[in-house]
Amino acid sequence: MKNGMNFFKKGKWLFLILIALLLLPNFLKDEPYVLHVCIIVFVYVSLAQAWNLIGGYAGQISFVNHTFFAIGAYTSTMLLIYLNLTPWIGLFVGMAIAGCVAYVLGFQILHLKGHYFAVATIAFAEIVKLLFLNWRGVGAAYGLSLPLKMPSFYYLMWSSKLPYYYIFLLVAIISTILIYTIDKSKAGMYFRSIKQDEDGAKHKGIDTRYYKLLAFVISAWICALVGTLYAQYILYICPRSCMDIMISTKCILIVLFGGLGTVAGPVLGAVILIPLAEYTRIKLGGGGQGWDYIIYGLIILVIVLYQPQGVYSILRRCKKNVQKMLRS
């Protein structure tokens, strides 16, 4: 992972942020709610990075990522409940299953273009959700409650939030580094070329189907990984909560807000939007009833209309302008 290391070489400030993130929980020991928000931010950083790969780089608008997330969550939870298998193994089984599903699904529908692919993924996600809602073997609408076995490293369950904080931080970092590596790699170049002009990419001898599948499967892996850990954290999963299409939609909005097809975009988006959503929900959700959604909608609309490249491009431009000013 030599390229991955470049990530750290790039700027010392990244190091500083990392250290700050590692030390942060020490100050937040008595603020589990803030920790919870941090964890949700990390969850969405990872999920948004996963979406960024298939949507931002390869240009396929997928509304099915939450299904892979749910597959991860369900697989490990089922294994834990029925076979008493540690989620550390369940995690890989979940990733494998999600990968297979992504492969089969992608093989069938990745040739669809633009909206068609998007609508097909919505339909598939709905089918899976409806089947799970009616499938007694996986708890149907009852959902699955994880057996409490805390605290235990083996069962990946703690009563404190700290270990979860570090685990989700790790996952967020891993997925970001993965996307960074891909961004700088040949595959990243191919993904972007597919997004811009798929036939053109084919004419350059790129096996577009293979690379789209690759992006889709890797994306599914990350989602499934996060799904497993999320189930361990939230301790209860049901189709209506973890197969909610809003999860995918949120990922899309986060990526769009931060900057499509950039490594920093999903991070920025999640760091800004998730706490903002939490804040508006708490400030307004109770009294305002729906105002938070309206504000959310307005922000997205403004971004889309005036700054479709996302917040990251603003920052980059500011940086450039500042440099220019300093030079002159």
Partner: protein, 289 residues
């Protein structure tokens, strides 16, 4: 009830609800076909139209059937407004951007109504259209029947507009190839404006008719929008008869699946057939105009 009657009833139910879906889908299809924008806020325009009908009924005592022209005109202008103030800037944007924009619109409309009208369930009571026709043991709800009728009229009008008027032909030309249309001197901006107006007016009709037999609720759009997507894609986007075909097909699949196999899985059949069609016939059964 013996099997023949049952099957007949299911077919009638399917066609009636299919007519509703078709009416909802046709506006979506128009916008989708001409501008290549999937309007995720479509269901919320539907909801808004139903609310307008409800408001006319509760404050002015106008039956939805009577206030229908009013609602249509209002929604025509709402459509113009949407294009003028929001979508105009996004004409050549990537798919994702338009999806996000319409999604944001959807949130704003949905929760705007939510804030103003509070999440109560409302029903227009004793509308002109109520009760059912009973032919031996088969029953045909009048409200849905009239909706189907209006759907058919709307589509005939829309179809003739697209086929026989100058503007209609310009719309079709734009749908087929925007650049060529531009080079032929078609005012594409204006065409987009008309398209949005017509598309939203169609969903206005659908919403007004829906309010005669469905409850009115700020979040009701979500229920219909996925079905509308499926109808449009099944029929092939950008075609009027495609939307009719898609709506009816989905209505029938839903009713047959729901009645004879399992109601819980009725939408699984809908989406299942839909995905299969996408895989094997990605352009739907009818292409563009």
């Amino acid at each position: 009830m013996d099997l023949v009657y049952l099957i007949l009833q299911v077919i009638i139910n399917g066609i009636l609800i299919g007519g509703v879906y078709a009416l909802i889908a046709v506006g979506l299809s128009l916008i989708w076909g001409v501008m290549e924008i999937v309007n995720f806020a479509h269901g919320d325009y539907l909801m808004a139209a139903a609310f307008f009908s409800f408001i006319f009924w509760s404050y002015m005592g106008l039956d939805p059937l009577i206030s229908l022209p009013l609602v249509v005109v209002i929604f025509l202008f709402i459509g113009f407004g949407t294009q003028k103030f929001v979508m105009k800037r996004l004409i050549d944007s990537p798919t994702l951007i338009t999806i996000a924009a319409t999604f944001a619109l959807s949130l704003i409309i949905r929760y705007g109504f939510f804030v103003v009208f509070k999440p109560d369930y409302r029903v227009i009571r004793d509308p002109l259209l109520q009760g059912s026709l009973h032919i031996s043991s088969i029953s045909i709800p009048i409200a849905k029947m009239v909706t189907l009728l209006i759907a058919i009229i709307t589509m005939i009008l829309l179809f003739s507009f697209l086929k026989y008027t100058k503007k209609g032909r310009a719309i079709r030309a734009t749908a087929q190839d925007r650049e060529v249309a531009k080079s032929l001197g078609v005012n594409v901006e204006q065409i987009f404006l008309i398209t949005w107006g017509l598309g939203i007016a169609c969903v206005g009709i659908a919403g007004a008719m829906l309010s005669t037999f469905y409850y009115v609720f700020p979040l009701m759009g979500v229920t219909f929008v996925l079905i509308a997507f499926a109808s449009v894609t099944l029929g092939g986007f950008g075609s009027v008869h495609g939307a009719i075909f898609g709506g009816l097909a989905i209505g029938l699949i839903q009713q047959f699946g729901g009645t004879f196999v399992s109601p819980a899985l009725k939408d699984v059949f809908v989406f299942g057939v839909f995905i299969l069609v996408l895989i094997f016939k990605p352009k739907g059964f009818f292409g563009k105009y």
